[in-house]
């Protein structure tokens, strides 16, 4: 924690990489799109 608080470059790099990871794997829009596909599948199979 101290290293991150004292090293602005490291903090910025962690922040950018973290954001990129979240945008790629943890976006609610992606989650909703997956859910939408599942809804379509169960409706089709009904």
């Amino acid at each position: 924690m101290n290293r991150v608080l004292n090293d602005e470059q490291l903090a910025r790099r962690l922040m950018q990489n973290g954001r990129r990871y979240v945008e790629t794997y943890h976006d609610w829009e992606t989650a909703a799109a997956t859910l939408e596909t599942i809804y379509e599948q169960v409706v089709r199979e009904q």
Binding site: M1, Q16, H26, W28, A31, L35, I38, V43, Q46
Partner: protein, 251 residues
């Protein structure tokens, strides 16, 4: 599509999964009817903001005394206490009524606490959002919790929760869950407790997301108002507080 979305708690910034999924589904053009249980007046008030995303929001109060009575009734049965905690007869009747009378395309029922309500849905596809594998959660609590009361509660409910979660795989058309670990744990319950020939709903991971409009990098914070900056600051304080906790306990 018209989705009947059922939750055992009011979706909010704390109950982030249903809150963000409802917003995102509404944004993609789906009509959402939300039926939610609520354990307090404060929670009930949180439902107001959802009205701009849902075509209808109905809240069913389940006060603490009702939850305790539900749990007491469940004790001598095979139902897990968790499955009974937020149960409301009025909510179950309303679900059955809506499904019979309105053109609902799909029902989405979230969490073990609402899973029992799925029996009110006939002839409409049912998706169960397990969120976590609760049996796995109880196993971890039973083994690792520092609080004796939490360990005892988890131990009391563990065996029946395992069987109940396995049965849900046979009662729903599809199951979604937040992680691969939970998916594997839930699927193994199905293999362990359901007959090999029985139909088991497919389980797919739908990971939790992050509200990127609410949480944003520090450098962008200047562009937003004070409230947003405060929220981000609170999040960082919370992280620090959690990291500090083990050492403060040792003291």
């Amino acid at each position: 599509m018209h989705v009947l979305y059922v939750t055992p708690y009011v979706p909010s910034r704390i109950r982030t999964r249903p809150c963000n999924l409802i917003k995102a589904l509404a944004g993609r053009g789906h009509a959402i009817t939300l039926l939610t249980a609520s354990t307090s007046a404060e929670e009930q008030a949180l439902a107001r903001h959802l009205r701009s995303y849902c075509c209808r929001v109905e809240v069913f109060p389940v006060p603490k005394w009702r939850s305790l009575l539900n749990c007491a009734q469940a004790l001598p049965s095979t139902e897990p206490l968790q499955a009974m905690y937020c149960y409301s007869v009025a909510m179950e009747r309303r679900i059955a009524q809506i499904v019979q009378q309105e053109p609902i395309d799909v029902t989405h029922i979230e969490h073990l606490r609402a899973a029992r309500l799925g029996r009110a849905v006939q002839r409409v596809p049912k998706v169960y959002d397990s969120v976590d594998c609760i049996s796995l959660l109880f196993e971890r609590t039973w083994r690792n919790s520092a609080r004796l009361s939490s360990r005892l509660m988890a131990g009391l409910d563990l065996a029946r929760t395992r069987r109940y979660e396995a049965r849900l795989l046979g009662r729903y058309d599809y199951v979604v869950i937040t992680s691969n670990g939970d998916k594997h744990a839930l699927e193994s319950l199905g293999e362990r407790y359901l007959p090999p020939s029985s139909r088991k709903a497919p389980v797919t991971v739908v990971a939790n997301g992050v509200d990127l409009r609410y949480f944003f990098p520090r450098e962008d914070r200047r562009q937003c108002d004070g409230h947003m900056a405060l929220a981000a600051q609170d999040g960082r304080d919370l992280l620090v507080a959690r990291l500090m906790r083990p050492s403060s306990r040792r003291r």
